[in-house]
Symmetry: C2
């Protein structure tokens, strides 16, 4: 499967060189810290989150650990900082490869568990095919391999021995798996065959890498199924797409638009591709969220996956092989990047409660120099009681008893990491039998604050977490909807893109026309912005994101013209175009 069948070089982002600089910076930081180690380490400086704090040293100053740029001001730098300082990921000494730290691994594991249960109910079983694929097999399906050839990583040596034949690392597993489907599927009674694997694949791209969004190795699930009829295959394609939408909407609080890819954008070698498309408000760009492909009979013909038609009656009919209908579908760790880009803010990550390893952090407050040891112990014991109550209700809660850190430092630290709900508890709260609440998803201020009576904790906290989850989705959904504009006049196209919108236009759906639209919108942007290549005013052309399943009215077949002024064809459907990742 393709993560994204075509990804342009994004001109409004730092180039490979620029990123290398960031990686070097990170490495330099590490080295500086290394050198500092011989110096005495005081209690109060210990356990600084990595990043600037590590670089700048000892001061227990909460400002130092914060994101140093605005999300709106320098989005690429913000994205890198929020991932590093939010403890989601670290850079690696091989470009395009990243380390998933426990916070992001937890999110992926949660998605794994949720989605795995869904597909098991559909009769899908997990399996593991090898990481390697021989050159012959890889090259078997021609149009498919053309989509991947440039980015295949090749193993040529085992130890110091040169291999007789070089071996590829799978960029996706169609050609790895389908020779065995041909072997295993001997009769229509062997259908449907529904297999899935959770693994990682490698695409050695030389384009600018970006954590989660474009990485040389990435984790995903890839489902590969074979069916007797096109109808069955079609049904499954949509069912899977529904679950992909579920991952975004129900777990990650991210709205997506379901649709079909145009011929230009569909999976190499497949019949048609369906997709869930997301939208990043900060850049106004669309992003492919996950794709569910109907491969048709193309691969079954290449690999000879046939059965006898159970409806065949005459000998002649029985001799005709029935090529099975196949699907493949994949969802990758890219989802995490999309979620971070949509919900994060200037204070750091904002995680939806459903995927946050820590949902609630309790921070002791109001402890002063004058507080007696006895009073402090009493307060801590009460907090441990709160933890127990919440855990009994399946809330993932931790208490931050770290010594030598001010509550302010702790607040910043957990906000950076995106913990959805903070509970503050001090002597005053204890007296009033309450906790003070602070929601991460709302801007700092009175609106984000509240109190909950301790007796209500076990019901109110889970309720509040659900509210946070829902509000995060609703806000993102509102923003997405505001930025999808329906236009029919080409002159509005580029100005709308420049307003960070994605555009629904009547379109002929031909590849030739799409290329023109991309071309025209790219040049147009340059002319208009006057500052080509500037990160803040992208000159990138728009490509088609999807043909939404939910089609607005207004297109009269054979009458309505394609929106592209250079195209003389008639419009086939409303098609969503946008700058994209």
């Amino acid at each position: 499967m393709s993560e994204s069948s075509e990804m342009p070089i994004r001109e409004n982002e730092p180039k490979v060189g620029a990123e290398k600089t960031t990686e070097q910076k990170v490495n330099q930081k590490a080295k500086k810290v290394e050198k500092k180690k011989d110096k005495p380490v005081g209690k109060s400086e210990a356990k600084q989150p990595t990043g600037k704090a590590g670089k700048q040293g000892k001061k227990n100053d909460s400002a130092l650990i914060s994101i140093t740029v605005d999300k709106a001001g320098d989005f690429p730098e913000w994205y890198q900082q929020v991932l590093l300082k939010g403890d989601m990921l670290d850079y690696y000494d091989i470009s395009g490869c990243y380390i998933l730290k426990p916070a992001s691994q937890y999110i992926w594991d949660t998605i794994h568990t949720w989605f795995d249960a869904k597909i098991k109910k559909m009769g899908v079983k997990n399996c593991s095919f090898p990481l390697f694929v021989s050159e012959d097999v890889l090259n078997k399906e021609k149009s498919h391999i053309e989509g991947f050839a440039a980015e295949v990583a090749w193993v040529t040596h085992g130890g110091s021995t040169k291999l007789e034949k070089k071996i590829a690392i799978r960029p996706t597993s169609e050609t790895v798996m389908y020779p065995y489907y041909a072997k295993w599927i001997q009769s229509y009674l062997d259908l449907p065959l529904k297999l899935n694997q959770w693994n990682s694949v490698v695409r050695w791209e030389f384009k600018h890498p970006q954590p989660f969004l474009r990485t040389r190795e990435f984790h995903w699930q890839e489902g590969h199924t074979a069916h007797l009829t096109k109808e069955e295959a079609d049904t499954e394609v949509l069912e899977i797409l529904g679950h992909y939408a579920g991952v975004y909407e129900q777990l990650l609080a991210v709205p997506v638009m379901k649709g079909r890819k145009t011929d230009k954008e569909r999976f190499a070698g497949g019949l048609y591709t369906t997709t869930v498309e997301g939208y990043i408000p900060a850049t106004g760009r669309g992003i492919q969220g996950g794709t569910s492909h109907c491969l048709g009979q193309n691969f079954s013909k290449m690999f000879g996956i046939t059965v006898q038609d159970p409806k065949a009656t005459t000998d002649e009919e029985k001799k005709q092989p029935l090529y099975v209908w196949q699907n493949s579908w994949g969802l990758s760790t890219r989802v995490i990047g999309v979620m971070v880009m949509i919900h994060g803010d200037d204070r750091g990550l904002v995680l939806p409660p459903k995927v946050s390893e820590i949902q609630v952090i309790i921070v002791p407050v109001g402890i002063k120099a004058s507080t007696t040891e006895e009073d402090r112990t009493k307060l801590y014991k009460e907090i441990e009681g709160l933890v127990e109550v919440l855990r009994a209700g399946d809330v993932r809660v931790e208490a931050d008893f770290r010594e030598g850190y001010s509550p302010g430092y702790k607040f910043n630290d957990w906000e950076l990491k995106g913990v959805p709900l903070r509970l503050e508890f001090g002597p005053m709260d204890s007296e009033k039998h309450q906790v003070t609440t602070s929601r991460r998803d709302l801007p700092a201020g009175p609106e984000s604050k509240g109190t909950i009576a301790i007796t209500e904790l076990n019901t109110e906290v889970p309720q509040l977490l659900e509210t946070i989850q829902k509000d995060m989705y609703d806000r993102a959904d509102k923003k997405f909807k505001e930025h999808v504009v329906k236009i029919t006049n080409w002159d509005d196209f580029v100005p709308e893109l420049n307003q960070k919108n994605v555009c629904l236009i009547p379109h002929c759906l031909t590849e030739e026309c799409e290329d023109q639209v991309k071309d025209l919108s790219a040049r147009k942007a340059e002319e208009q912005s006057g500052v080509p290549q500037d990160e803040k005013a992208p000159s990138m052309g728009a490509k088609s994101l999807c043909i939404p399943f939910e089609q607005p009215d207004g297109i009269e077949k054979g009458v309505t013209a394609c929106t592209n002024p250079k195209c003389s064809r008639k419009a086939e459907a409303w098609c969503l175009f946008g700058r994209s990742y």
Copy 2:
């Protein structure tokens, strides 16, 4: 980590050439089947399990799908057939790589879930480090890389572009992860750091590959932890080893012996290695089951992973870096191979109920040509009711309603696949309000049979599954214990090995002496058997398997001699020696 720090070429097994022949056979089968496809496929021949049946064609004869050799007679061939016909695995067109089919993937996923819960309780978190490691980093720890260098797979090209520097595929992740441990661990407050990953690693061995036991890519978990003190590290090493024993004993019904590896056999670059050792009765060989290593401070010194000693008081003490204590531990899909070898029989796989995807299969019986459609429908409905009852009690049950197959064929098919319990249900059973039971773990015969009243089904079936699980373990445990022999006279050593035993001997634990023991026992075997290289009388020398934690009495330190007649040292401990995988 090492799967097995030293694995000799096994002389009593088919060589690479021999296995290739098997793979070719499999491929030939596939091709033959391929050709047959144009012919009409009748109802009754459909869905034949792969293997001989597929080769030999149409006959619906249960004998055809069976294993064609005895486990005792031709163990290597038996092992391959039982995996292929039992639907656990398929061969792949790259030597040393295998496909894990759903039945074996289910077992691995079950182990994953169980073990993951155990380590999470210990505070271990999951993460993902890249598949790739740069040459510089890989070579950083010298004695470690010496253990792996010969079998590292190297990527040299991305697409058609030659990479500036070749990149290794991880054979294990110590050198991948520890540079980041150095960066992340800044203070003793960052300790312990406990990370784990579920992934696959690649060791491009040129020795004879064997499904699950020695594969070029294998799936495993690898835990990597860092601690302030050796005591903490020591404690964790044993706790993990206990969980590894749990995987074998509680899930796979396989007994293991816990112990420590000798210096010769310990992990390359580590301080000491603990192990759970299994025993394969059919061959009389030991097998390393999983290893938990204390790495000591070796890697922390190489990678500069230090903190300040929290006990330091003087400036001088504070300047002394404290190198952290590290562990690493790994358990791989090898466990599945061990389980198959121990429990399987001449009829095929025998799966312990706890890891079998299907625990109970219900087969309709007693349906004749004279049975009315109405009676058949009634019987099937009753069976669906049984399925419902059992599923409500969390029993993983399926009913086999396949048409055109005799009950006998179905019995054989499910026996081949190792389903622990078969329920037969026919008109007679229906009248008596009972089901007939047949246990897979007992030899075919009256002892394996029974009946359960339908009213008792929801309690009796889970109970019977537990009994099966326990009995499987107890039988294997008895056999293991019978074949561990305690000897002090060297003359008994090789004869005991030839009796398929493993030997506990007083030993000096030096590497030099171990080499001699191996050498002596290899030659001795040849002399004795008269048939060197024969598969049934292995001439392989014995190596040390472990120094069992549970030491028998009888060694007087400084007095008891080492058992090796050529060794003049005194015995340090009872050490388990055996031929091994």
